[in-house]
């Protein structure tokens, strides 16, 4: 029911929306919950387990009942809490967890079965027979589980992740938070003020209260105006701080404006923070306390003062503390009928003219889909009253959650019957106002100011205590009252349907620890994480186990404080945002040629370059291999890691990081190097060129570029800091292309500004050349086994050089080749990649044991000498050739002696790389075989259990083609 003249809503702006398909109107400034209440809609949801009809209970993010799905299509968002959903034009909201409708839900049959479905039901029921676990129970549970459903469609990619920095983060913008922000802002601190509601002011918007002689709202407006005038203060409304983490880092979820699907997940690094998150009102567990119409007393005030909505037409109030009385007083003042005020305490204040029952309790409620009446008990006599709404206050729980995120335990205070944060729970975080158990407005203002002063002093900023506006400063009067004895179920956790009986039963069955009780009953395990139920439940547990509340303790509060959509937390981390794409200089030209691009880590490299008439990759690949063997091929090898090493001690450094010697390498020469890890296994291989005395360029495999650089940095900075050298990664600075094949020199001589010959440019030489006037580097090295070069130019010339090289190659009967051909060429030559250097192989395994130089120290030398790593019985590198050249071979297959069964105990080794060699007209494989090099010529079975291969092979040297290497030098 709307009450004219009340609330911060705009009566001139009517907003149309629908709920479960029915059209309604609300006002600008309404939440979905307030608009529905204004329309007299009380039934908003169904509970999880028993499908009990439920109405909105709170007016904030702790709402357990009124969970709805908002939007449609990919924008559809389930489990939105109706009080937190700001109304916008055209909003489509639907209820959840019911079928066929909210008013008639057939799953409500569960409620009739509730005597069978109590605490521990799952654990007792779904145990036997075992055969039912997967076939019957799991599908059954999965169908029943969950509240709202995701759309299954891609979400519009509009969420963001944001990093924020500030001197002081103020969490909550009620009286304490506003005061803290004002003090810190005036002192010049860089302040972020975050509040989860759409308007700042906190409780001051929800009460009829005076501050400094004027309505509190006027003070809020003036304070916000002042904060907005300070350039060093950033106000973030609609922002819930969700977690406190190490080093002053806080997570925060910022919701978009009404109707926006945009969420931002913030990581805020704050030098200091003040928690002013207020307190959450809790209920009292009395029979029938879950009917639509039973609400928190403070929520009823918020709907009245913030939205101008009366929660009902005839409201009863039930409480054990003075704040319940404010609800009765304010409703009465607004002209709403107060049916009765029921207070459990024997002596109570009387604010206005309505019937008050002291020392009384509510013992029953009536009404199926909405409250119609209550039964109260006073002095042993019961009496029925008519009411459509019951406002309940069982006290206030300080919002201590964030202070417990780093494992601190809250402390129980008997005087306020609530838990408060311990000192120093989170380094750098102060607590003020109701969150610290200070419930008066004056207390909030003064503790907020003091917390800010303490933070400013830590930050080295000067400030003095401001004059505080005069404010309400009544002591908080409460007599704990947790549950009401009586017939019928009294609910604690409304979302997961846990009653006082369930908690008592858990205690009887010896689940006495609060953590065990939680898991046995599922209390506090719903999306509200027990915000409204936790403290009441452990009070009931304390009763049932004969302990005090302090001794019983709380469960662990963990982030996030409110549910955070995965779309916000992972914003931007889909597609290319998840795995950035790295393109080579020849990318555009390769794509133009129709090459399918395949992923190599983050890089994209051409698989092959199809030509007209070629229908399979094998045709293209075989042609490209033949091209390189017979004419000349061009391949972009820019992805290989390149590390520039300079300094007087660079040679000594290379000796230390490589197993073999580099200090003897002369300028103008290149050497193959093998790099070990300190544990003696091979880390990487590659070539290093000496460009000038004290100047080297190391190449690494594509995948190892970053790890090798990190390793070299470690050796240089930590193990040999006294050596004078510098490392620079230059992978992206140089475009580098292999020019491979018998006609490679012809091609280069058609390209380079000065001709090259075999004498000046022998195998493993390097030097500076000029191509079209551009200074380039030429390396005579070969991965293909052919007479080959790699030419490097600054990356900006890469695209044009690649096009030029390919055109020249095509003129010589060659062309570009891709990764498939590159792989075949290297397997024919027994060259290694990460398939062989897989982190478990040693230099000896790879047939390079003698490369570990005996007369110098190097990384990995000590450990590589361990007998176990030098054992000839280890699986060591060999080549395999099937007896039938066409017979299938596959990487991952295992090797067995021909007489043995193909079982693990007879395993002789495994296959790492395979290829069809068009050069040798045979399948080829590289493999690791026990005693490998000693078994050349033997027959071995290659068995792939997954693919069904069983191929008899001959063990060969890894180098299948041109073992003498004559072609390299040609």
């Amino acid at each position: 029911m709307r009450i004219a003249g009340r609330g911060l809503v705009d009566p001139g702006r009517v907003i149309g929306f629908s709920f479960d398909g029915r059209p309604y109107t609300g006002l600008a400034g309404d939440s979905l919950a307030s608009a529905l209440l204004a329309n007299g809609v009380r039934l908003m949801g169904r509970s999880f387990k028993y499908h009990r009809p439920r109405g909105v209970m709170t007016a904030g993010s702790d709402e357990p009942n009124a969970l709805v799905t908002v939007g449609r299509g990919g924008d559809r968002r389930p489990n939105e809490r109706a009080p937190m959903v700001e109304l916008f034009d055209g909003m489509e909201a639907v209820s959840q967890n019911r079928w066929p409708g909210l008013g008639l839900d057939v799953m409500a049959v569960n409620d009739l079965l509730s005597p069978l479905l109590g605490a521990g039901f799952y654990y007792k029921t779904f145990m036997w027979p075992r055969a039912f676990w997967e076939r019957v129970y799991e599908p059954l549970i999965r169908r029943a589980a969950g509240l709202g459903a995701l759309s299954g469609l891609p979400a519009p990619d509009v969420s963001d992740k944001v990093f924020g920095h500030c001197d002081l983060l103020v969490i909550g913008a009620g009286p304490a938070g506003l005061m803290a922000a004002l003090v810190a802002g005036r002192a010049g601190a860089d302040v972020i003020l975050a509040d989860e509601r759409d308007r700042m002011g906190g409780r001051l918007l929800d009460e009829d209260e005076m501050l400094g002689g004027a309505p509190a709202r006027a003070w809020v407006a003036a304070s916000l105006e002042e904060l907005d005038s300070l350039p060093n203060v950033r106000r973030m409304a609609r922002t819930t701080v969700t977690g406190a983490y190490d080093g002053g880092t806080y997570g925060a979820l910022q919701r978009g404006a009404p109707g926006a699907v945009h969420h931002s997940f913030w990581r805020i690094a704050a030098r200091r923070a003040v928690l002013c998150a207020g307190a959450l009102e809790r209920g009292i567990a009395f029979p029938g306390n879950d009917r639509p119409g039973v609400m928190m007393a403070g929520a009823v005030r918020r709907y009245l003062h913030r939205h101008g909505v009366a929660a009902g037409q005839s409201v009863a109030v039930f409480g054990n503390n003075d704040s319940a009385h404010r609800t009765a007083r304010d409703l009465h003042a607004a002209g709403v009928r107060v049916a009765a005020l029921i207070d459990t305490r024997p002596e109570v204040p009387q604010y206005a003219d309505y019937e008050t029952f002291a020392g009384a309790e509510v013992v029953a409620t009536r009404g199926r889909l909405g409250l119609r009446g209550i039964t109260i008990r006073q002095n042993g006599r019961e009496r029925r009253l008519r009411a459509d709404t019951l406002a309940v206050s069982g006290g206030w729980n300080p919002a201590v959650h964030l202070t417990c995120h780093m494992n601190a335990r809250p402390l129980w205070r008997d005087d306020i019957a609530g838990f408060v944060p311990p000192e120093g729970a989170i380094p750098g975080l102060g607590v003020a106002g109701a969150a610290a158990g200070v419930f008066s407005t004056h207390g909030a203002l003064s503790t907020g100011a003091r917390a800010a002063l303490a933070a400013l002093s830590d930050l080295g900023l000067r400030a003095t205590m401001p004059d505080l506006p005069g404010a309400e400063d009544a002591p908080f009067a409460i007599t704990p009252h947790w549950q009401v004895a009586g017939r019928g179920r009294a609910w604690l956790d409304l979302q997961n349907d846990v009653t006082t009986k369930d908690v008592a039963q858990a205690a009887r069955e010896n689940f006495r620890s609060v953590e065990h009780m939680k898991r046995y009953t599922t209390l506090g395990m719903a999306t509200d994480q027990g915000k409204g139920s936790n403290v009441n439940a452990l009070a009931v547990l304390a009763d049932a186990t004969g302990r005090g509340i302090a001794e019983t303790g709380t469960t662990t509060f963990r982030p996030p404080y409110v549910p955070v959509p995965i779309a916000a937390m992972g914003a931007g981390a889909s597609g290319a945002g998840y795995a950035p794409q790295r393109f080579t200089p020849s990318h555009g030209a390769s794509v133009e040629k129709g090459a399918p691009m395949i992923e190599a880590g983050l890089w994209y490299r051409p698989g092959w370059f199809p030509r007209p008439g070629e229908t399979t990759w094998r045709e293209s690949c075989d042609r490209e291999v033949a091209m390189v063997r017979n004419a000349v091929g061009i391949c972009d090898v820019s992805t290989l890691g390149k590390i520039d090493i300079q300094g007087p001690d660079a040679a000594a450094f290379l000796d230390f990081v490589y197993a073999n010697r580099f200090s003897t390498l002369k300028p103008g020469r290149v050497r193959y190097g093998l790099m070990l890890r300190e544990d003696g296994h091979v880390m990487d291989d590659g070539t290093t060129a000496c460009l000038a005395p004290g100047h080297y360029v190391m190449t690494t495999t594509t995948a190892a570029a970053a790890p090798v650089l990190k390793h070299l940095e470690f050796v240089s900075q930590v193990l040999r800091p006294e050596w004078n050298l510098r490392l620079a990664p230059v992978t992206e600075q140089w475009a580098q292309f292999a020019v491979a094949g018998p006609r490679s020199r012809d091609l280069l001589n058609a390209l380079l500004d000065d001709e090259i010959g075999n004498d000046a440019w022998p195998f493993m030489s390097c030097g500076a050349v000029s191509v079209c006037g551009v200074a380039a580097r030429l390396f005579r090295i070969s991965f293909s086994g052919e007479h080959a070069y790699e030419i490097a130019v600054p990356a900006r010339y890469g695209d044009s050089l690649f096009r030029l090289l390919v055109a020249l190659a095509e003129g010589l009967g060659g062309g570009a080749y891709g990764m498939e051909a590159l792989n075949v060429l290297r397997i024919e030559k027994g060259h290694l990649t990460d398939a062989e250097i897989d982190g478990r192989t040693t230099a000896c395994d790879l047939g390079m044991g003698r490369m570990v130089s005996p007369d110098k120290d190097c990384i990995g030398k000590m450990m590589a000498a361990r007998p176990g790593l030098r054992d000839p019985a280890r699986e060591r590198l060999v080549g395999l050739r099937p007896v039938d050249p066409q017979a299938p071979v596959s990487a991952g297959a295992h090797l067995f002696n021909p007489g043995d069964k193909a079982e693990r105990v007879h395993d002789q080794g495994h296959v790492t790389s395979v290829a069809w060699s068009p050069t040798l007209n045979s399948n080829l494989a590289l493999a690791f075989l026990k005693h490998g090099p000693a078994r050349l010529g033997e027959r071995i079975r290659l068995v792939d259990h997954l693919r069904g291969h069983d191929t008899l092979c001959i063990v060969t040297d890894p180098v299948a083609f041109d073992p003498e290497g004559g072609r390299l030098r040609g």
Binding site: F163, Y245, D246, G247, G248, T249, R267, A269, M406, P427, E678, D679, A706, K710, E713, F714, Q717, V718, L719, P721, D857, K861, M862, M863, R866
Partner: protein, 85 residues
Amino acid sequence: MRLTCPLCGERDLREFSYTGDAVLCERPAPEAGPEAWDAYLHLRENPAGVARDLWHHGAGCSAWLVVTRDTVTHAVIAVALADAP
């Protein structure tokens, strides 16, 4: 978590990577013997309290850092360049 790199200043955790105990800085001499090498590579304390760990500022200045940290409170006590004695 935030670390104050001696070269770059205070930075977010995600700029750094963790590499284990700072004992890795103290590489034994080649002739130190198998026990010393085994200890260097494999044996690690797992203290509840102050620990010295190696971190790499890979998304920053590439510096290797020794971070002294309390594993119980998560307090960062000191960050120093790994080559500093």
